[in-house]
């Protein structure tokens, strides 16, 4: 430890003060630049979130299970619904296929496409292959019911 300290001291004393100050300033400014970038990226991600909320019409899927309500925000332009653990919205219901249906968005309008699921995909109790969705629509996959709703305020603030 003492050797290292003495080595550092030797290095510092071998440098001219002006060199040392300038080197320290360069390192400090580079650090500040990196911090500023992280700060700006944070601000940008908030803006991008807002833009995405516009693109996705700020919707979410609501599911009621055993007196509890679950909200699944629609966070990508392609959302897969199914029983499999890799599905975007996982529904642990035996009547739901592993990869049941896929939801896509274009210009704030969401639509659902059935992926040849055995138990079928229903929108407002009508079996569908592909259909555009509106706020308040009830989507039934097997026996699992989901409602397309406006995203709750608490989630929007997050």
């Amino acid at each position: 430890m003492q050797e290292t300290l003495s080595e550092v001291w030797e290095m510092l004393t071998s440098l001219r003060i002006s060199d040392l100050i300038l080197s320290a300033a360069a390192v400090l400014i580079l650090d500040l630049f990196a911090i500023a970038i992280i700060f700006a990226a944070g601000r940008e991600s908030k803006l991008c979130k807002k833009r995405w909320q516009k693109v996705s019409a700020n919707l979410a899927l609501r599911r009621r299970e055993e007196q509890k309500e679950y909200y699944y925000p629609l966070e990508a332009d392609e959302i897969l619904l199914g029983r499999h653990s890799s599905a975007d919205i996982q529904l642990k219901d035996p009547s739901v296929s592993r990869y049941h249906a896929v939801m896509t968005v274009t210009g704030g309008v969401w639509s659902i496409t059935d992926l040849n699921a055995r138990s079928g995909t229903f929108v407002n109790e009508q079996r569908v292959r592909q259909r555009k969705l509106a706020v308040g629509d009830c989507i039934r996959l097997g026996t699992a019911k989901l409602y397309l709703v406006k995203r709750p305020v608490e989630e929007q603030e997050e």
Binding site: S23, L47, D77
Partner: protein, 439 residues
């Protein structure tokens, strides 16, 4: 840009200050012999800053941090490269930097609309095929370079972005599966596997095994994303088998690699100091000589060593600028990759692209830095942005453009709106013309 005015103006000021303090360091601590050369360097750095920032203003993007980062790193790299072996403006590297920025914009504009690039993926396959043909038939004696006059191009560098795009395409189009033997494969997955095999075989043939880990990492990343991707019905068991197979291939490659690779894998650099371990020994001595704050720009001695500005560039920077500044420069590249995580892409195509680009950069940086520090065998790959080389810089620029595309994607309805607006404008112009003719 206007929405983030305050934080952007602060970042731009700090960007300029970073370059100005570096130039100050060059002037005070460096070996400035001809003040005119120094002024040329300063002019080039500040000029590039101003021009690129003005160009960026013209593009409507959601995010600008990647532009600032790229500009910051490229000008830092220009200052580093211009100080090796005496202070002068490295015109060759300046051109490379400009080409890198242009490639970045090209990459951004080409991959911004994921629907469009998905539809036109056949052109990517054609491009990759052309690159293969150019490497096999037009490079000189397996040296990977195409020489046209005083310019040399390394086509294998351009395969990286194309390979990432092929990976991304294969991830998205997984619905239509074909049964081949006992396996269900989608058409794009099959193409990906063939392309990957071709690339690995080509690298082996070219004796360019340094780039193999980078391509391998991109392929592994695609495999991992496939596992995460909802429509990919690949089980954990298959991924586990693939991992075990990968480890076995690595062990086999380690033991049965060609003689020239075995030499590098098992070389004792200090025992063979003036033979195979020469570059690494000199690099380590250079890093030790530079200490924390370096010997001053242009005062180093590593510039006499072969590939001081490409393969062992990290050591050369450490010697002249110190370990602290060299590490911070690398950290800046890492932060550039990190900022992407703060705003994850909203579609699978861009997500795969981002993951592939990040994996490629991380692998290449690790290979270069740890290789020159003798922590892993020396591979001879370039350090992204900091090493010299036009092909490498252009490929890196294109990759950053792809990252930018993931940050500022163009959604389909926006494309439709633009098309409608253009049609309206055309119709209005036509109506005006017809009115003029009538009058």
């Amino acid at each position: 840009m206007y929405k983030n005015k305050l934080s952007y103006s602060g970042t731009v000021i700090l960007l300029f200050l970073t370059h100005l303090t570096m130039l100050g360091l060059v002037f005070i601590r460096g070996s400035v012999v001809a003040p005119l050369d120094f002024l040329k360097l300063a002019g080039a750095v500040i000029g590039l800053d101003i021009i690129y920032l003005l160009i960026t203003l013209a593009y409507k993007q959601m995010t600008y941090t990647l532009d600032f980062m790229l500009l910051g790193i490229l000008n830092i790299s220009l200052i580093f490269q211009s100080c090796f072996g005496g202070i002068h403006l490295s015109v060759k590297h300046l051109i490379s930097c400009v080409m890198c920025l242009a490639a970045c914009e090209a990459g951004f504009l080409l991959t911004r609309n994921h629907e469009w690039i998905r539809k036109n993926k056949k052109y990517i396959y054609i491009l990759i095929l052309l690159l293969f043909i150019s490497i096999i038939f037009f490079t000189d004696n397996q040296k990977k370079w195409i020489t046209i006059g005083s310019f040399s191009i390394q086509p294998s560098e351009f395969i990286k972005p194309c390979f990432i795009l092929v990976c991304a395409a294969s991830i998205v189009e997984l619905h239509e599966k074909l049964k081949i033997g006992f396996f269900y494969l989608s058409k794009d997955s099959l193409i990906l596997c063939i392309v990957a095999l071709f690339i690995f075989a080509l690298q082996w043939w070219c004796h360019d095994l340094g780039s193999l880990p980078t391509f391998g990492m991109i392929f592994l990343c695609a495999l991992f994303c496939r596992f995460c991707y909802p429509k990919a019905k690949i089980s954990k068991r298959i991924v586990a088998i693939a991992c075990i197979a990968g480890i076995l291939i690595l062990i086999a490659a380690w033991n049965f690699a060609p003689e020239y690779v075995q030499k590098r894998l098992h070389v004792d650099i200090w025992a063979d100091r003036y033979g195979d371990g020469y570059q690494q020994c000199e690099a380590l001595i250079g890093i030790a000589k530079g200490g924390w704050l370096g010997v001053g720009a242009g005062n180093g001695s590593l510039y006499k060593i072969f590939a001081h500005d490409s393969d062992i560039v990290f050591a050369t920077i450490c010697e002249e600028w110190g370990l602290l500044y060299a590490s911070l420069s690398v950290l800046l590249i890492l932060i550039m990759l990190m900022t992407v995580l703060m705003n994850p892409p909203k579609n699978y195509y861009h997500a795969m692209m981002t993951a592939g680009v990040t994996a490629a950069f991380l692998m290449q940086m690790s290979l270069n830095i740890f290789g020159s520090c003798n922590l892993i065998p020396f591979t001879g790959v370039t350090l992204p942005f900091l090493s010299t080389g036009g092909s490498s810089m252009m490929a890196c620029g294109f990759l950053v453009g792809m990252l930018k595309a993931g940050q500022s994607p163009l959604f389909q309805h926006e494309v439709m709106k633009r098309k409608k607006q253009k049609q309206k404008q055309k119709a209005a112009k036509a109506a005006q013309k017809s009115r003029r003719v009538n009058t």
